[in-house]
Symmetry: C2
Subunit: 325 residues, 2 copies
């Protein structure tokens, strides 16, 4: 593995000159530069980024830690982050915490040890802590869910309001017993969506279940709800992976969305218009969330003293057929 001194030796110059040539920092004699380039080429030389970063005390990589790589909402965020980061010359590496505190901590540690330039994180829960990162001066921006007890940059969605609105939409469409299926306690979006639902129906009338943000758990929870003596006639579902489970539960019982039971789900997954009836959803601006978050992070990397900012984006109800009788 050729090093910079190999190149220097071959070109008959000092390592400093090689470094200067390759980085185009200071100006070097064209003649020497040519020799350097040639030597580097011949040797198949590739700078060792580890050494460079160690010396420079900086890296051009961002870490994005999301809680479910199989959820289109998060992959869409990833696209947004990546597109923005790339034009500024940053690479982004995606880590999947899988809604699991341990995995999340591991990836946070990796980010810390590798001394990435910054991290974007959708915290798994209230236990998530980034104080270690912050102490080392590595900026963190929270995405989709706020970081417990900190005042850093964050980009969120007004998801409580969206849930309230979606519930009211169901009520307005003359569903009388609207229930809510949300994620685990402690997961902020799950709690907020439930609160929004409470806002609309009143806590005393609330019917709800919690399950993991996954199809399987949602299928059971929905089944449980549906099999009650007096089942709900409408369901607010907290994300699209859960919606899959819910729709399976309906199919198992030969229930038709809309006619038999009103459904509104969070997240406009690619398949929501394919099913019959098409799914009414609360569309979150995932790609935009990613872009904004990356912007915030880059801005903070450039200037660590700026005031923390919280950007709250709006979700949008897309009214399709599953919320009409």
């Amino acid at each position: 593995m050729a090093t910079i001194s190999d190149v220097a030796a071959r070109a008959g110059v000092s390592t400093a000159t090689v470094s200067r040539t390759l980085n185009g920092k200071s100006t070097v004699d064209p003649e020497l530069a040519a020799r350097v380039l040639e030597a580097a080429e011949e040797l198949g030389y590739h700078p060792n980024g580890l050494a460079r970063n160690l010396r420079r005390q900086e890296t051009a990589v961002l870490a994005l830690i999301i809680s479910d790589v199989e959820n289109p909402f998060f992959t869409s965020i990833a696209r947004g982050v990546e597109d923005l980061a790339q034009v500024s010359g940053y690479s982004v590496v995606l880590c999947n915490s899988d809604e699991n505190e341990d995995k999340e901590r591991r990836y946070l540690d990796v980010a810390l040890q590798e001394r990435v330039a910054g991290v974007l994180l959708s915290p798994t829960g209230p236990a998530t802590s980034v104080t270690r990162l912050r102490r080392l001066g590595i900026p963190v921006v929270a995405v989709d869910r706020p970081l417990p007890g900190t005042d850093g940059d964050q980009v969120l969605v007004d998801t409580r309001r969206a849930a309230r609105q979606a519930t009211r939409h169901l009520v307005a469409n003359s569903y009388r017993r609207v229930a809510c299926l949300t994620g685990p306690p402690g997961v902020r979006t799950a709690d907020d969506r439930l609160s929004g639902y409470f806002d609309a129906v009143g806590e005393e009338n609330a019917i709800f279940r919690r399950a993991e943000y996954r199809a399987e758990g949602a299928r059971h929870a929905a089944g449980d709800l549906l099999d009650q003596p007096v089942p709900p006639d409408a369901l607010l579902v907290a994300n699209s992976t859960m919606a899959i489970g819910v729709l399976e539960a309906l199919a198992e019982r030969s229930l038709r969305a809309g006619r038999d039971i009103g459904i509104v789900s969070f997240d406009d997954a690619p398949w929501t218009t394919l099913i019959d009836p098409p799914l009414t959803v609360v569309a979150q601006p995932a790609y935009e969330i990613g872009r904004v978050a990356a912007q915030l992070l880059l801005a903070r990397i450039a200037d660590s003293t700026r005031e923390p900012v919280t950007t709250t984006l709006d979700a949008q109800l897309i009214d399709r057929q599953s919320s009409h009788r």
Copy 2:
């Protein structure tokens, strides 16, 4: 940012002792060890992974470069890779090449510069080259698509055979004009699936279109096919993102899958059973592909001299309703 010497100074020992304590390599006096740990704690010390890796000439991170982070097939692979890597203490960072040679090259460069322990790659096309990686001794295993002109480790699916089988299935279900919608030329899976289709219908009877591996392009291509004077009565679709486009094209024309036009698609996405009629698919063992690939990579990291192995997994036709009249 506290360094190892800060800790050493505070604990009144040498840096070597600190290093030994923290890495549990050699044995150190419990008394000293305690002092070290305490000092580290007080200082909020976290080892600098860059320095460590530079010194050790190794990292415990794997790079997984996939061509579409929004495609469930690839995210499923990612899960497989991650699950296996994790138990061996490796972290995996996901990079999205977006079916784009430039992005792919950028991420390959990042992997190279960061001197990752190994890379798993689903090459975007024939131009993909990993010789630079290999020259530096960084092992690469190809996933889902073979690496042009090399004999490294790879894990593939016998996709040609699967396509042939799927086409025959359609023919056996008395569809008479089966067409094929596949990905771009040069993308190996796209070409192989087309070949499998040729195998079944004969090249002279072939009706096919190519489009990007995305919903939008597939929608147009399918529309084009469907609007022919004598349209096909069945379609073999090369992946699930394309299937979304195809189903949209059907809906626009009030065509019903199965009855009006037989459909078989590659990849068993989560939503395929939700639509009406449920989609007949060729299910690829994505998660398993990821696991096996990670295994191969780890094995090669451990022993760079072992013979390259190609593992070919089988896909499975899941017969549902969209391929029956």
